[in-house]
Amino acid sequence: MTETTARLPHTREERIPWRVRLALRDIDGVTLLVVPAVLFVIGLFVYPFLYGFVLSFKPRAGDWLANYRKFFSDPFLYDTIYATMRLALPATIINVLISIPVALRVRKMHRRRLLTTILVIPITLGTVLIAEGLLNYLGPQGWLNRTLMLFGVISSPLRLVHNYTGVMLSLILSGFPFTFLLTLSYITGIDTSLEQAAATLGATARARFRYILLPLLAQGLAINFCLSFVQTFSVFPSAVLLGAPAGDTRVISIAAYQAAYEQYDASMAAAIAMIMGFVQLAVVLLALAGRNLFYRGAAGGGKG
């Protein structure tokens, strides 16, 4: 018996060296090139996040939920969620909705590059500069008010700075180019022969939009909404410089900043950051779930 087992060949697993086995699963020296970046992101993104999460449950005083309880019982704090939503939701919805017809028209253009270049400038300049610019431009003596009064549209200057309106305008100014470029890339990804086919089958422009374009865009628009919302919800410099940071536009990022740098309460700041992230996540999930319902409705309604 020992003789026969001695002459049995080794099992397959033992025969193949470990290096080859790993390489078969695409793990070798080249794969290791990804490790530094992975370690970096884990160390400086995931870890601080988890650290902050844990820290939020270790408040300066009180039990582990004290920070959260404080946040939700103090109107000065929890109202920031509402104030931020009041800005972020309308701004995102406006930006996404307006980007659709504009993108539909622009995709027919052959020489788009000039337009897209111009539209990239607001994104490049950033929110701080736009805030400063609007402080001048939208002010009671600024050119906008002057022009409107010159044409008799209004008789006294509109209050456009240091309030909700100013911040809203800056969110649209800095957010629309981004939303538009994203929508444009989704729309150009739809094969034109689909709309041509629909046209030959008798679909008017409106029908083509409703039955062909919109369902196919639904996924892209949902993602667009989520990305834009997440950006607008974290509004900070414009809310401070151009808004009323102690009043109407006291957004949640301001509360977090104050906790961290004015009250030096790192734990509370972490808690507020977590709440902020959580609200963003909730809205994103709602949007994606909503898109699924809409998609099934549009695609499955009627026959088939």
Binding site: F45, I123, G133, Y137, F178, A205, L227, L241, M276
Partner: protein, 280 residues
């Protein structure tokens, strides 16, 4: 589909173009206000300033220590560009060429810092950096800014690497090149346009990156955009014109690099490249 347009179609098209033009005109006017003000002697209650001067630029330079700030900005931006390239390009290569177990998870890991806005992870990040004594220093700022840029470089570079036929690399290996020589003589030259594009995009984004620097910078490690914020914040104390002079310097810095970047990059890539990966 290319036909004589009906009245309603023409109205609709006009409305859309009007909206676009209104947007652009307002934006340019806003930028113009800043520029004009920075050259004005006094501007109160009239369409244009009373007179013109360049003295605000000199005073802003002193007041805000713009010389130092600009040096700091370029140190930060330079380090971020270099390091994100060093971390990101090899990682992109690995992700493009190898399909290892857990790859999806790794890609998700790289997507997160791009989708979650800087403030949400910036505050905990700043806390950690301060804990380790890096808070308030220039290295703290550099590290913080690297968090979104390393993934950005990776996601931008992956399609570039995928475009290179792997058989070219196989050919190089057959002819005796090890991984080091492969990178140096074959890959980097082929990838050069992609690397250039990615790094220029990182540069432009980092100059304008406010929140992360704001939370991690100390008084002598501020970048231009943060210094501008503080100046506007304390606007009552300073003269508006010198703040605007600083703003103009900021605009020029950003736009110069944007123009350079645009020679190599399509404008939409500044925005959509990373987001398209997210959408996949």
């Amino acid at each position: 589909m290319g036909r004589d347009k009906s009245i309603s179609e023409r109205l609709w098209a006009t409305a859309i173009w009007t909206a676009v033009i209104v947007f652009i005109v307002n934006f340019m006017a806003m930028a113009a206000t800043v520029v004009v003000n920075s050259f004005g002697t006094r501007w109160l209650g009239s369409w244009l300033p009373a007179g013109y001067t360049t003295r605000w630029y000199l005073s802003a330079w002193d007041e805000f220590q713009l010389g130092d700030v600009l040096i700091t900005t370029f140190e930060v931006v330079g380090a971020v560009v270099l390091l994100s390239g060093l971390f990101g390009v090899p990682a992109a290569y690995a992700l493009a060429r190898r399909n290892f177990p857990g790859k999806q998870l790794v890609i998700l890991l790289f997507l997160l810092p791009l989708m979650i806005p800087p403030i949400t992870f910036g505050i905990p990040l700043a806390t950690v950096l301060y804990q380790f004594g890096a808070g308030g220093t220039i290295w703290g700022v550099i590290i913080a800014n690297l968090v979104p840029t390393v993934p950005f470089v990776i996601l931008v570079m992956i399609p570039f690497v995928e475009q290179i036929d792997p058989r070219i690399e196989a050919a190089a290996r057959v002819f005796g090149a090890g991984t080091g020589r492969l990178f140096l003589h074959v890959l980097v030259p082929l990838l050069a346009p992609g690397i250039l594009a990615a790094l220029l995009l990182v540069l432009v984004r980092t100059i304008a990156m406010f929140e992360l620097t704001f939370f991690t910078a100390g008084p002598d490690s501020q970048t231009l955009v943060v210094a501008l914020y503080y100046a506007v914040y304390a606007a009552g104390v300073r003269a508006g014109q010198s703040i605007d002079a600083m703003a103009v310097i900021y605009m020029i810095t950003t736009l110069v690099w944007l123009l350079i970047a645009l020679r190599f990059v399509d404008p939409t890539q500044i925005v959509t490249r990373a987001k398209q990966e997210a959408a996949r």
